[in-house]
Amino acid sequence: MHFSITSLVLALIAFLALYFLLNKYAFGPLFSVMEKRRELVLQQMNEAAQTREQAVSYVEEQKQALQTARKEALEIIEQSRQTSSKQTEQLIESAKVEASRIKDEAVRDIQNEKNKAVEELRGELGAASVKIASKLLQKEVSTDPAQEGLVDQYLKEVGGRS
């Protein structure tokens, strides 16, 4: 082993020169690129986190929208059910009313017709009875109003009984 100060100094010079050259031409740019990459990764991670948050909030919104839609649909169904049952009732009610009205009318008509027919019959019967009576009683019974009234009275009694 030999030790020489010249070699030591030369080694130092060589090493320091290498150090400055490397720092200037190799490590400086390399460190800056590494720093840039670090920033890029950080930024992308932040972006990813933001996107995730957004996605979560969107999903939450969608869920709520779905829930409200479901609620609304249920309400609509409920409403339509109610209105339909109400309508049915109304229809039934009006049908009943109509039916009873028609029935009443029919009853009245029948009554009228019956009355009319009775009236007619009565008139015809009166006339016919008067004719029959006059034919039977041509001699004794004249067609004076007193006798006709009597006959009418009898006939009324008959009609009222029938």
Binding site: M1, F3, S7, L10, F15, L22, Y25
Partner: protein, 272 residues
């Protein structure tokens, strides 16, 4: 063991193999780093860029285990340069070696400069066994970190940096810790600081140097004969594999200790 080629220029000794290996190591590290950071991309990094980023994160991991990453940020480049330089340096001596042999004093020259220690060695060997042919091997290619001057230089750099940081950033705490727990411990604390410097550099040097010595011995064994040649191949394979491991571990340990020493002096909070 082979000696290194030294020349004397202007009264200074220059170790040519160290100069060569420093240039080679720095070139390899710089080219590697430049290739890795040539087409930098944020979103689509290439293979080499990925490797470099892995290395950066590895060094950051080492740093975070000793100190606050924010405080240590200015030393990230230093740690990276250190680990690349030491690792590449450690690996360089493993695959092959370049050795030249000199028999004559007059031929031991390098571009007109005499290889001083080769000449010295030749004279010494001649004096020891006069009349015999002299053969002195000179290593040109080896790990730069297998030389005590280089590893101690690196350790000394860290030492100076650490104490400079201590004095400027944490003056009070730094000066106070020399008198901890009592003022009489001052010499022990001073010794501790210098032993740190020594162990820091010598650990690296010793591990790599020992590995290369053993490789050189195994190569020598391989050249002794057929049996030695056959025996040396598996041994060389095993030892070179182990040296790769040792070289990586030593690069790691050196940088780890650097961060540890830095963190010790820039930690402002007082625990004692």
């Amino acid at each position: 063991m082979h000696i290194s080629p030294m020349i004397e220029v202007g009264g200074l000794d220059f170790d040519l193999s160290i100069i060569l290996m420093l240039i080679v190591t720095c070139t390899i590290v710089f080219v590697l780093a430049r290739l890795a950071t040539r087409n930098l991309s944020v979103e689509n990094p290439g293979k080499l860029q990925n490797f470099m980023e892995w290395l950066v994160e590895f060094v950051q991991g080492m740093m975070s285990s000793t100190m606050d990453l924010k405080k240590g940020k200015p030393f990230l480049g230093l740690g990276l340069t250190l680990i690349l330089f030491i690792f590449v340096g450690n690996m360089l001596g493993l695959p092959f070696g370049i050795v030249t042999e000199y028999h004559d004093v007059n031929k031991a020259t390098f571009f007109g400069h005499q290889l001083v220690n080769v000449v010295e060695e030749i004279h010494k060997v001649e004096a020891a066994n006069p009349g015999k042919e002299v053969e002195v091997g000179v290593t040109w290619w080896k790990s730069p970190t297998a030389d005590a001057s280089v590893s101690m230089g690196l350790a000394g750099l860290i030492f100076v940096l650490v104490h400079f940081l201590g004095l400027t950033r944490n003056t009070k705490g730094y000066l106070k810790h020399y008198l901890q727990p009592f003022a009489v411990f001052l010499p022990i604390n001073l010794i501790e600081q210098f032993s740190k410097l020594l162990t820091h550099g010598m650990r690296l040097f010793g591990n790599i140097f020992a590995g290369e010595v053993l490789i050189a011995q195994l190569v020598k064994l391989g050249s002794t004969g057929i049996i030695g040649g056959i025996a040396s191949i598996p041994l060389l394979m095993v030892w070179q594999g182990f040296s790769i491991f040792v070289g990586s571990i030593q690069a790691f340990v050196f940088v780890m200790l650097t961060f540890l020493y830095i963190s010790q002096v820039i930690d402002t909070h007082e625990e004692h």
